[in-house]
């Protein structure tokens, strides 16, 4: 290092201009909260990959049932229990898309040729000859719909409850917190099961059952944040200026809560998907011909030994959704949670 310094000619040095007005200049553009968060998320490769996969799955949930050219309810008993076969991929022997099934004697047979079926069922068919490709994506659509709706309702109730409880404090807070303390003592899935027994399975009743105590977690997080935020000067200023409680909550507190709300909701969605699948698996899910990922796994599990693809395909889809949503939620938490900031 020392040698290099000696080699630089003196002419290249010039005195720095000291201008006090320039010291105040901001060189980098100021980032909004969201730009900053996006920068952080973008650095997290797993989160970005998850975001893309989640996007693809949601896209498939909508266009999947359309591109197969088949209906998710039409039964064709002559075509029942066909293994998956895909054009082009059927000639690659190590891929499981060649329409070949191993029979009980351990011999491989091409069921399509045996039964003279010209059609291609990309994910195979179920016991009633319904196209599984259409059913899987239709099921994904319904599972996601239930999960998003449940997460949204959880969010609305939880935020309102937590914000009111934390903001007003005192006696109101005390009573509201005692109520949540009782609710949190109830095992989630047990109460959901009881609600389903009462309401009978259906898309709306499943959603309601999932939200019955699901909002408690959100309300606790929001309350904790509001307790901190309401002591801030800007809230005091707003109050001094005569703004109503409602306006303070909506205009000043809510924008500051967006981070925790998003993080919590992102974790609620995979939980709701899991709970729906869980209910289907113990026989409390949607009724035929409606399908969700849970009911498909349940049906597939019953014939797992004979036709493994009927369970494995929906299982892969639900696992992908769960993994990617969890990773995305982790990434968002790292990016949005003020506690995580250095």
């Amino acid at each position: 290092m020392g040698q290099h310094e000696k080699n630089i000619p003196k002419e290249r040095f010039s005195p720095a201009v000291i201008d006090s007005s320039k010291g105040e200049e901001i060189n980098k553009p100021s980032l909004s909260f969201w730009q900053d968060a996006w920068l952080r998320v973008r650095k997290n490769k797993a989160a970005i990959a998850s975001l893309i996969i989640v996007g693809l799955v949601i896209l498939m949930a909508f266009i999947g049932p359309l591109i197969s050219g088949k209906d998710h309810q039409t039964q064709k008993v002559a075509h029942n229990n066909l293994p998956p076969r895909v054009q082009g991929l059927e000639n690659i022997s190590w891929l499981p898309f060649d329409g070949v099934k191993v029979n009980k004697a351990g011999k491989e047979i091409n069921v399509y040729e045996q039964r003279n079926v010209d059609e291609y069922y990309w994910f195979g068919t179920d016991a009633l000859g319904r196209d599984l490709f259409t059913r899987v994506w239709k099921g994904t659509q319904i599972s996601l719909y239930i999960a998003f709706l449940a997460a949204f309702i959880d969010m609305v109730i939880g935020v309102a409850y937590g914000a009111i409880s934390g903001y007003f404090g005192g006696r109101i807070d005390n009573i509201m917190q005692r109520i949540t303390e009782v609710l949190i003592g109830i095992p989630f899935l047990v109460v959901v099961i009881l609600m389903i027994l009462l309401l009978k399975p259906g898309i709306i009743s499943l959603t309601i059952a999932l939200t019955i105590t699901g909002w408690v977690g959100m309300s606790r997080v929001v309350r904790a944040q509001v307790l901190k935020l309401k002591e801030q000067e800007y809230v005091l200023a707003s109050r001094t200026l005569g703004n109503s409680h409602f306006k303070i909550m909506i205009k000043h507190l809510l924008p500051n809560l967006v981070g925790v709300i998003i993080i919590n909701t992102m974790f609620t969605i995979p939980n709701a998907i899991f709970s729906e699948a869980f209910l289907s698996f113990i026989g409390l899910g949607l009724q035929d011909p409606l399908a969700s990922l849970g009911t498909l796994i349940d049906e597939g599990f019953k014939v797992l030994r004979l036709h493994p693809y009927q369970m494995i395909i929906p299982a892969v889809v639900i696992s992908t959704i769960m993994v990617t949503f969890n990773m995305l939620a982790d990434g968002l938490r790292d990016a949005l949670d003020p506690k995580m900031r250095d």
């Binding site: 003592g185 109830i186 095992p187 109460v191 995979p270 599990f301 030994r305």
Partner: protein, 309 residues
């Protein structure tokens, strides 16, 4: 401390009372009778059956009677399992469930803590990425999907382990692994972050400076403090194992409490549904209480009354 405990126990009892009442009235509202699945009964026989189970009395009377019996530890009699006492039915099935839960908890937490520690000590190595991957997957994949695939590949295809039932230790291996995945994932994740936190603290630097060996630093100094938060997370995880075991027991045909619960739902066996619900809730609230007390016992920095939480 005493006052806090008293308060907590009061809420516990209140919660349980609420759940018991809720389940009771829900069972009254649900359409259909528990006898519908039996041979068609004439109206007269139906009346006799109803009278036998006390269903002919007004609902408030039934409620008072049920709650009174509950206080005495009497959960009523089953409609389906040849009039057996629900209490007997449940406690007889508690054994397999408890064993399964215990084994899964031990396996999951020990393995998870081990994985987490190794990942933290070898940050950004392939071991670290591997353990993070296992943690994410283990947390995400639904237990019944994992159990189903495990049963198919290990049990049916490879034939290494028995597929169904509960007859000896080798029968418990697969359900234990299936159930242990979730606690393993949670423990590994938490252990890693806590361990990294602790390894960066001043007293570890001091230990390094005075020349303590790597082994001593990792296991004598760091692990002890890093374990505290992990122990507290594992409580709620244990609770989630109870519901997780519902499906695992169904898949592996284990005669446990969860299997009983699922069967009673399909059979409309109301007294059993009520009994298991109340028992589950009681265990749930009890575990939460124990965990909260443990917070204070394990870590003297956390005080029960006021302060953190």
């Amino acid at each position: 401390m005493g006052k806090y405990l008293l308060q907590r126990v009061f809420y516990m009892v209140l919660t349980l009372f609420l759940i018991a009442s809720l389940t009771f009235f829900l069972m009254k509202v649900i359409p259909g009778t528990p006898f519908a699945s039996q041979n068609k009964l004439s109206p007269a026989q139906m009346e006799i059956m109803k009278a036998k189970y006390g269903l002919d009395q007004p609902v408030p009377v039934q409620y008072a009677k049920y709650m009174g019996n509950l206080l005495k530890g009497d959960f009523g009699t089953s409609f389906q399992f040849s009039n057996r006492a629900v209490g007997d039915l449940m406690f007889q099935r508690l054994g397999p469930s408890a064993q399964l839960g215990f084994q899964a908890m031990v396996l999951g937490s020990v393995l998870g803590i081990f994985l987490g520690v190794i990942a933290a000590l070898r940050q950004n190595s392939w071991i670290d990425y591997g353990s993070t991957f296992i943690a994410v997957v283990g947390k995400s994949i639904p237990s019944f999907v994992f159990a189903g695939l495990l049963q198919y590949y290990i049990g049916v295809k490879l034939g290494w382990l028995p597929v169904l039932f509960w007859k000896g230790f080798e029968y418990t291996i697969m359900p234990t692994i299936a159930l242990a995945l979730f606690p393993l994932a949670i423990a590994a994740r938490f252990m890693r972050t806590e361990m990294i936190d602790v390894l960066n603290s001043d007293y570890i630097t001091l230990a390094k400076a005075k020349g303590a060996s790597f082994f001593d630093i990792a296991f004598k100094h760091a692990l002890r403090n890093a374990l505290i938060p992990v122990v507290t997370v594992l409580g709620p995880v244990f609770v989630s194992l109870m519901t997780g075991s519902l499906v695992i027991e169904k898949i592996f045909a284990i005669p446990g409490l969860g299997e009983q619960f699922v069967t009673s739902i399909t059979l409309n066996d109301y007294p059993v549904i009520m009994g298991t619900t109340i028992l589950y809730s009681a265990m749930f609230v009890l575990i939460i209480l124990i965990v909260d007390i443990l917070y204070g016992v394990i870590d003297p920095r956390i005080r029960l009354s006021g302060g953190k939480k």
